[in-house]
């Protein structure tokens, strides 16, 4: 074999190996959603509900994008809903991000809360949860989607 062909074969070998490695090498989870349903992960009644969130080595709060708060309204009256994404670190820091919305009638509702304070100095040993509160009682939470990048 000529040296040029040997070099080409070697380059092909290295490139193929590198591609296989890049595709197959295990990675830390970098994006995803953790969904918490009302039935399984929310407590409360009337105007206020709290839905838990789960963090860990594969869900560091530094990667938290925010959370979708999903709920159903059963009233024809106007209603306001405030939702809070809350985090308490294992070492005592408390942070939260909040958003609210007003509705004229019943139907499905969803509010996204962008993580600003709750992702600062993120860690895997954090406690995370979502809170709903409304000025009405004729509604119910469907759950919360915690999104991370």
């Amino acid at each position: 074999m000529k040296p040029k062909k040997i070099a080409a074969a070697a380059a092909l070998f290295v490139t193929s190996a590198a591609l296989s490695f890049a595709l197959l090498a295990p990675k830390t989870a970098t994006s995803g959603t953790r969904a918490v349903t009302a039935n399984g992960g929310c407590t409360g009644s009337g105007q206020n509900y709290t839905c838990l969130g789960v963090v860990g080595t594969d869900f560091n709060t530094a990667n938290l994008d925010g959370a979708w708060f999903e709920f159903q309204r059963f009233t024809a009256n106007s209603m306001t809903m405030t939702v809070r994404l809350k985090r308490a670190t294992y070492t005592g820091t408390v942070s939260l991000d909040t958003a609210n919305a007003s509705y004229a009638s019943g139907g499905h509702g969803e509010i996204f809360v962008q993580s600003v304070n709750t992702k600062q100095n993120g860690w895997e040993y954090d406690f995370l949860w979502g809170e709903f509160s409304s000025n009405q009682t004729a509604w119910g939470p469907l759950g919360v989607f915690y999104e991370f990048n």
Partner: protein
Amino acid sequence: VRQSIAIAATGLVAGIVGALAAGRFAPSGAVQTAASASPRAPGAVIVPPGWDHVFSARLNAVETELVQQRARSMTHEAVAPSAEIPTSEAGPSRVAQRAEHYEKEIQAYTKRLAEHQQESVDEDWAWEQRRRVREALETSPAEGPATRAIEVDCRSKTCLGRLTFGSPLDALRYLHLSSLPVPRGCNGLTSTPLPPQSDGSYDLTILYTCRP
């Protein structure tokens, strides 16, 4: 034809080598379940590392007594190695890790407080927002500990509330209230309770984010 087969074989072998190399880097064991934090009920008080010195002092006294008792018993009878008091290897490192992270949180929070101080002041907004923050803080939740004094400073994006409580523990109780107030016009907050100087009066600062 022979050359094509050689190229295909090279690619195949390279792929296998790459896959094997990838396998070597695979984490062993159940990674996903290694360190999941359990959710804690909102409202529970988390005592930062180093704060529970009263408890630590009591623990130290018990440990000292235990060591003295062991020393006394060793003078009377031989103690087999198996009688060693079991120690947790994970304990101290976990404590150290927690203390280290608390230190980082203090640094990050102090930096954010400094950034607040350096913000330019939008007088009109700051005046109105200061009133809103004070109003929210003065309407303390019924289940929360009473504040002795409240100071508020708003700039152009953030506001800083300084609440004086009767004790550090009261401040922690306030911070972990499920009904922790967020003033109108603000959309979030952060507070890292700084180490107390005494068991008496304690100033808790809360940084409110109000404008992007």
